[in-house]
């Protein structure tokens, strides 16, 4: 398949602040590409440039072969953009919002009502179709926002943190919908702060940190870099943790580090490593006070890729902590 999105040396700066620094990647048509990074990493800047909303300071980008700077009006026939902050009209109803987008996308007027109703149905908004959006919950707005991005059946879809603030059920439904779009031939570029999401959805992941791309690979290979599971052993003091690290040096873990009184192991095979590690610690009288087995977080990725802790600890907050209102029913 040819590349649907090609980005070469893309740069965006605001005065002295460089939001995006020499970023290059390409996205094969009909695949999902994930941009992973903390808040302020430059993900949204990249998406806005590709969606012709923002002009880059340097470099170039093409969507289906058309340059986003030189021919933005042509690019706009082929893209859909759903933002991090639901860009829908508060006063209009859900149906009116979709019809407005249909008109502005230059669809033939007689097709617009059916298209709007079809999307309302698909996104579980039929019952709320005639209510003004200001009466919608956060999750409903998000769904309407994504439906708006699909009105003109875009061949390239940009989703900026599409699931931030959605509950697990809605998130799963959205993931399924994204996969269905891709089966239908859509190319999707999405940003996320959640490693799990990028892993679940994306065929390729680029990791962005402070405007720079620090990795671009398949999820499988990226995971091999930082391990698919993290084991954390808590000790009463840093000294015990260090001694435990000494004992385990050369064990089967991919990576081993001491963070104050915590010993952290990264591994592909947690069962094997646990079976190996625990008896050895027991023998040395260094039984940990607590043992945590977890998936790697953004912090772990950053630590593994940059050797630096995540510059913005906020961004690794779990999705459940986002302060979006109301629990949502499932999408259809």
């Amino acid at each position: 398949m040819p590349d649907a999105i090609v980005v070469e040396g893309l740069t965006k700066s605001y005065g002295d602040f460089v939001a995006l620094r020499d970023v290059s990647f390409s996205v094969e048509a009909g695949t999902i590409f994930g941009l992973l990074g903390p808040n302020g990493a430059g993900k949204t800047t990249a998406i806005r440039i590709l969606a012709t909303v923002l002009k880059p300071s340097g470099g170039r980008a093409t969507i289906l072969g058309t340059d986003v700077v030189r021919q933005p009006h042509l690019v706009r026939f082929d893209i859909g953009l759903a933002g991090q902050f639901a860009a829908v009209d508060e006063q209009l109803t859900g149906r009116e919002n979709l019809r407005l987008v249909g008109r502005l996308a230059q669809l033939r007027p007689k097709l617009i009502p059916a298209r709007a109703d079809e999307l309302l149905e698909r996104f579980g908004l039929s019952d709320a179709a005639n209510k003004p959006v200001k009466a919608y919950s956060g999750g409903m707005r998000r769904r309407l926002d994504i439906a708006s991005a699909l009105v003109q059946r875009p061949r390239v879809l940009f989703l900026d943190e599409p699931t931030t603030g959605l509950d697990l059920q809605s998130r799963g439904a959205l993931w399924e919908m994204i996969r269905e779009l891709v089966r239908g031939g859509t190319t999707v570029l999405l940003t996320t702060q959640y490693l799990e999401e990028a892993d679940q959805l994306a065929d390729r992941i680029a990791v962005i940190d402070r405007g720079r791309m620090i990795a671009n690979d398949t999820p499988a290979r990226l995971k091999a870099v930082f391990g698919s599971t993290i084991l954390e052993l808590d000790y009463p003091d840093a000294d015990s943790a260090s001694r435990a690290a000494g004992i385990l040096d050369g064990s089967q873990a991919d990576h081993l580090e001491v963070d104050r009184a915590t010993l952290r192991l990264r591994t592909q095979d947690s069962v094997q490593v646990l079976g190996d590690v625990l008896p050895r610690l027991e023998q040395a009288g260094l039984r940990p006070g607590q043992l945590v087995v977890r998936d790697p977080s953004m912090d772990d990725v950053f630590l593994a890729l940059t050797g630096q802790p995540n510059p913005d600890p906020q961004s690794s907050a779990s999705p459940d902590e986002d302060d979006y209102p109301a629990h949502e029913g499932s999408t259809t």
């Binding site: 082929d78 893209i79 933002g83 003004p132 003109q152 061949r155």
Partner: protein, 282 residues
């Protein structure tokens, strides 16, 4: 690209990619007009569903009419001979209504920029200036309704046009044209501040001296000399004086000509500036 795209998978799925060329309108000279009317339609629905906006722009002028007619009116001096204060006041209140109404343009632009819906508009294959022109058109439409309602209030408190219906309507047209020009100024303000509350707060200190240090409510001849110099020549006074000439027949020299010059001048300067500001406002 806008080339025809065949649907890739089974028809009937709502998530099938690609719009066939015949499902889209071809782009022609009417496209910007259609985009503008779509945006204006959307804005007008918004205004209808936010009654505070209507109240703000309607109740306030009504209060002014009542206040000036019945409370201050008796004390107003220097009126042209043979003119009652109500007749003097109402054309001025039309102007005041149209001028304060332009704040809504600033608030509307700022609200849209802040909410992110402009991002969606920018990513759609529509005419970019339709967002701004559509806003100015919807605010003009709103002004038409407001001015008609103010006219009714005016007639209820005793206003009578002294120079025929045709000239009265011409006067209305002048007031609306001035309000339209002011909308372009405040479109720039809204784009610049990007925040509805700030837009509203920024607009009032600019408009208050223009509206109050003018011939809108009182004849400028009673003001101190230094203020008269300003009050006589500023655009709000010129428009009020020209509207009065058209509606009640008071002589106004070249004020009508100057009012028209201001209107054309403001639009010629501010509309392109606003479009430029808007394009850069990302």
């Amino acid at each position: 690209m806008s080339q025809p795209t065949d649907t890739v998978t089974a028809a009937g799925s709502s998530l099938v990619v690609g719009v066939r060329a015949d499902e889209r309108r071809p782009r022609d000279w009417l496209s910007p007009v259609r985009d503008t009317s779509a945006i204006a339609w959307r804005n007008l629905i918004g205004i209808r569903r936010v009654p505070q906006l209507m109240v703000f722009t309607l109740i306030q002028p009504v209060i002014f009419v009542l206040l000036f007619t019945y409370v201050f009116g008796g004390a107003i001096k220097g009126l042209p001979p043979g003119i009652t204060y109500v007749d003097y006041l109402i054309p001025g209140v039309f102007v005041q209504t149209a001028v304060f109404g332009s704040i809504i343009t600033a608030v509307g632009m700022a609200t849209d920029l802040k909410s992110g819906i402009i991002e969606r508009f920018r990513s759609l294959p529509m005419s970019p200036s339709a967002v701004l022109v559509g806003r100015s058109v919807s605010d003009l439409t709103r002004n038409v309704f407001v001015v008609i309602l103010m006219g009714i209030v005016g007639f209820l408190v005793g206003f009578r046009y002294g120079s025929g219906l045709g000239k009265f309507l011409l006067g209305m047209l002048l007031v609306l044209a001035f309000g339209y020009a002011m909308s372009w100024i405040f479109a720039m303000v809204g784009i610049a501040v990007k925040d509805p509350e700030t837009a509203q707060a920024a607009a009032f200190p600019v408009l208050a001296p223009l509206v109050f240090a003018s011939s809108v409510f009182v004849p400028v001849s009673t003001m101190p000399g230094w203020l008269q110099a300003f009050a006589e020549h500023q655009p709000v006074s010129l428009t009020a004086s020209a509207a009065r000439q058209l509606m009640i027949g008071t002589p106004a020299g070249n004020d009508l000509l100057w009012a028209c010059v201001w209107i054309v001048g403001i639009i010629a300067v501010c509309a392109p500036l606003a479009v430029r500001l808007y394009r850069r406002s990302v």
